[in-house]
């Protein structure tokens, strides 16, 4: 009997050994960010009040590296993060790793990790969703960056009272794009009302999946009022409307002729136009739904000094100028630091439709739920 036990013992031991060995490999690759010694003052419960040490930091100037564990900080976000993280590390000497997620994915990760957050800073578009994180106590509040003064007037107007997040840039989550092979210029919709009354099939991205799509839909819902917007969308679905998970497939559908016009994120719209595809872009005079990119710090970060340094870095005019100059179409946005110009190929001073963060956060569940249910009918 003893030998039998031995056999099974071997199996278990081998299994555990394999698991531990692999976790050790992970640690070697720097993938394991399970810090042994935390600041310890942070409670696991999100509802706890900010600890004394954090309030003290809030009052003090940033850059007290002694507070930090000195480990790599993790930046979650969508556009720009891969580009900006190495630049930040080079300039400040802090260790940072960027994790590139889709918008919904980043929020889901943050939600899943709320018992034990693995992220330190978040940079993404969709201020409504970030507001909702702040309302549920995920974010560090009450700390004022030194570079807050370098924001433009527009930028400063988007800073929330509790300082839970800081605006970096704004871009159009939806401009009107149409296929010039299928739609003549005089037939093309110029306003959002015309877009909804357009005869052919139209499309845009799914607010449940794509980060910029909720800002798009919520702006239209706020513009028309919820009831009227629902009526318009119901009619639009009847007349021909396709919803695609992300903006890339919307662009493909526009090229293949599956849809003739689209409410398309400006990156994708200008990318198609500039690469010589038969696509024309219209920035409606009444405004394009805006998507505000913000940066926020996790309430439970073990490296507050490094995280704050990242926020300071993102607010600097030099950083934002650098972002408008990169090759990729991500650089199509309106910087919010004073004195930085956006790219010249864009609409020079296109207006934005931007619901308040509170409004967008408050109606998020309702609008997304309604939309998802409409979409299967």
């Amino acid at each position: 009997m003893k030998t039998k036990q031995g056999n099974k013992g071997h199996l278990l031991a081998a299994l555990m050994a394999a698991v531990l060995l692999l976790s050790a490999c992970g640690a070697g690759n720097g993938n394991s960010n399970a810090g042994g010694s935390g600041t310890g003052a942070q409670s696991a419960s999100p509802s706890a009040s900010p600890s004394a040490s954090q309030e003290a930091q809030g009052a003090a100037a940033s850059g007290e590296a002694s507070e930090d564990t000195g480990e790599t900080i993790y930046l979650y976000g969508n556009d720009f993060v891969d580009f900006i993280a190495p630049k930040f590390a080079e300039e400040t000497g802090y260790k940072i790793e960027a994790v590139h997620y889709g918008g919904g994915e980043a929020l889901a990760k943050i939600e899943a990790e709320q018992g034990n957050p693995q992220w330190d800073v978040l940079m993404m578009d969709g201020h409504g969703s970030v507001r909702s994180l702040a309302d549920r106590d995920f974010l560090l509040t009450g700390w004022q960056p030194d570079n807050l003064g370098s924001l433009s007037e527009t930028g400063a107007s988007h800073v929330p009272e509790d300082l839970a997040y800081f605006p970096v840039g704004i871009h159009a989550s939806g401009v009107i794009a149409y296929n010039t092979k299928l739609v003549t210029d005089d037939k093309a919709p110029k306003t959002w009302d015309e877009f909804f009354a357009f005869e052919g099939t139209v499309g845009h991205a799914d607010p449940a999946v794509a980060a910029p799509a909720y800002p798009l839909v919520s702006a239209l819902f706020e513009k028309w009022g919820i009831e009227e917007a629902e009526r318009k969308y119901e009619q639009r679905f009847k007349d021909g409307m396709n919803i695609y998970p992300k903006n890339g497939p919307v662009g493909n559908a526009l090229l293949s002729g599956e849809i003739q016009a689209a409410a398309l994120q400006e990156h994708n719209a200008y990318e198609l136009k500039l690469s010589g595809e038969p696509v024309e872009v219209i920035w409606p005079e009444e405004g394009a739904p805006g998507s505000l990119r913000v940066v926020a710090i996790s309430k439970h970060t073990k490296n507050p000094a490094a995280a704050k340094a990242f926020v300071e870095y993102m607010l600097k005019p030099e950083t934002q100028r650098m972002m408008t100059e990169i090759e990729s179409t991500e650089s199509f946005f309106t910087p919010l630091a004073e004195g930085v110009e956006g790219r010249s190929e864009r609409e020079a001073d296109g207006k934005f439709l931007l619901p308040s963060a509170e409004w967008a956060a408050e109606h998020e569940v309702e609008i997304k739920t309604w939309f998802a249910d409409q979409n299967v009918k």
Partner: protein, 569 residues
């Protein structure tokens, strides 16, 4: 004897509990006590469970899942059964090809197959541009078209289950009937079919479960056709802000209930029609040459061309084209996509590093396959031949293990392995590759248990009892009696586990450590961002590598078995 059986039974029961049942429990607890795993304790009630009948999206998802799974299981079993019957009896050239194709389809995950069909049949797909068949688009992107696609990609599960049962020849029953004047059809109807019925039912259930838990098809379709299924709605409940983990739990609950029903039906049916016909008189099946071999070859060849040629061919074609829209012209052919796979791309989040991803995926899948095979073998043994007191718990867990799709497992793992108190003891596995291994084992166990239960189902317990009376312990009985009889399906199970876990998209996307490249994610990401060339090149290379590995291992296994047999004589 009883004590050692109990220890073996207890061990695997504990492992199954930890790897599979606990994460599922976590998801379900989260339905009733949202926030339980986030350090908050509040009772949420059961109001959510009824919500599936109020919300159009979820109602539709449930309906779509059922429709797809029932249709694909039925059609898949018909296809798999017909092919298996022909294959077992006749020896023809395309037979070998069929086996290879079945393996290929078994390991080629549904998201790849579906991506192939999308590239082939979508509005801007190959069939449109090259053949101008508009009907193909409207057929494929309809519920019945999806059943067709799904059946074509899942039939190998039924085929292999049925073929495995024909490994041993029990013709003497049929011969006795023929001597008594029965016609061939009556022999098939009254003897061969009832004997084969458990394997047919097993095949049907395998396809049903695999289809209803499948995440790849709706994920790949999402870009072109709205077809929400339960799995996809679970995924979208998690990938929506504000995230609805509670609702994902409820949908997962329904999914698990459906799968448990299927499982119960299977167990009931198997029990009802159980014949211990595989006894000492059994001999290996010998195949005959058919008279019209060309007809068999032609029919099987044509079938394979559709089920494998279309999706794989479309992917292969796209991987060689500079621009998909311009067809096969000399100036439009390129190997650029393959070159970029091996060149390594930096800084583009749409094109993850392929070589790194392949290496990670291969090593994780290999470890997972070996352990899942061992656990599956012991589980199947304990369930089939012992009276261990853990049997009912084990039965429950192994049934449940079949019913936990990767999407659900993923959330549960995050809940459990991301607890603060695990850090000091070094078990904070969330965000490390180790958790991918554990999840891989959990994901592969169902295959291991299913295939092995099928193989054990035909074994008679008499031989084991005889051995036990002679004083052989549990380990000796496993090693000297069960293992030689089922080793062929054991090898198949291991290879199937390896092949399926290497391509598991759902778990990979839920649990990957930050910036950790994995092969299915490389393909999925590139496809999502319409980098079709890169995605399809990665698909072709990955499939080729995995197929070659599996074939090599299979050949090595057969050679080893032959040597072992020679040494015994």
């Amino acid at each position: 004897m009883k004590a050692s059986e109990a220890r073996w039974g207890g061990g695997v029961t504990l492992l199954l509990f930890l790897f599979i049942f606990l994460p599922l429990l976590a998801v379900l607890i989260n339905v009733v006590f949202p926030g339980f795993f986030f350090g908050k304790f509040e009772y949420g009630g059961f109001g959510l469970v009824g919500e599936i009948f109020h919300r159009p999206l979820w109602r539709q998802s449930l309906w779509n899942s059922l429709l797809l799974a029932l249709g694909a299981a039925t059609l898949g079993t018909v296809i798999g059964g017909a092919l298996a019957t022909v294959r077992a009896r006749w020896n023809f050239a395309a037979g070998r090809l069929l086996d290879t194709a079945a393996w290929l389809l078994l390991i080629a995950p549904s998201f790849m197959i579906a991506q192939g069909w999308v590239l082939f049949a979508s509005a801007d797909g190959l069939v449109h541009q090259w053949l101008g068949w508009t009907w193909a688009t409207s057929f494929i992107f309809s519920p019945s078209g999806l059943v067709f696609v799904m059946a074509l990609s899942k039939f190998p599960l039924a085929y292999l289950a049925i073929v495995a049962a024909t490994e041993w020849n029990v013709r003497q029953f049929g011969q006795a009937a023929r001597l008594n004047g029965a016609k061939p059809f009556s022999v098939w109807r009254t003897i061969e079919l009832p004997l084969a019925l458990p394997s047919f039912l097993a095949g049907w259930t395998l396809v049903f479960m695999d289809t209803i838990g499948d995440f790849g098809l709706p994920a790949a379709l999402a870009t072109v056709y709205k077809f929400p299924t339960l799995t996809y709605s679970i995924y979208s409940a998690i990938y929506q802000s504000p995230v609805r983990f509670d609702m994902a739990g409820v949908l997962a609950f329904y999914l698990v209930v459906l799968l448990a029903l299927a499982m119960t039906l299977l167990l009931f049916a198997v029990r009802r029609s159980r014949f211990d016909f595989l006894n000492a008189k059994a001999v290996r099946t010998a195949q005959e040459k058919p008279r019209h071999a060309w007809a068999y070859n032609g029919a099987v060849g044509a079938f394979l061309l559709v089920c494998l040629g279309v999706p794989i061919g479309s992917s292969a074609a796209v991987s060689l084209l500079k621009r998909t829209g311009e067809g096969f012209a000399a100036n439009n052919l390129t190997l650029e996509h393959y070159r970029s796979l091996f060149a390594g791309v930096a800084g583009d989040h749409r094109l993850l590093g392929y070589l790194e991803g392949l290496y990670h995926s291969l090593s994780i899948a290999a470890v997972a396959a070996v352990f899942s095979m061992l656990i599956g073998f012991v589980t199947a043994y304990v369930l089939s031949f012992t009276e261990s007191r853990f049997k009912s718990a084990l039965q429950l867990f192994s049934v449940v293990s079949l019913a936990v799709p990767g999407v659900v497992l993923g959330i549960g793992y995050i809940f459990i392995w991301n607890q603060k108190w695990l850090e000091p003891i070094g078990l904070h596995l969330y965000g490390t590759p180790a958790l991918l291994v554990v999840a891989g084992i959990a994901g592969a166990i169902p295959y291991a248990v299913r295939v092995q239960m099928g193989a054990f189902g035909t074994l008679s317990g008499t031989m084991l009892k005889a051995a036990a009376i002679q004083g052989a312990g549990v380990f000796d009985r496993m090693r000297h009696i069960v293992l030689p009889l089922v080793r062929q399906s054991l090898l198949m199970a291991t290879l199937a586990s390896f092949g399926t876990s290497i391509f598991d998209l759902a778990l990979a996307s839920m649990l990957k450590p930050a910036n950790y490249s994995l092969m299915p994610l490389v393909i999925d990401k590139a496809f999502e961002f319409s980098q079709y060339g890169y995605a399809t090149a990665a698909t072709v290379v990955s499939c080729a590598i995995v197929v070659l590995l599996i074939l090599a291992l299979q050949t090595a296994g057969r050679w080893l078995f032959r040597r072992l047999d020679r040494n015994r004589l």
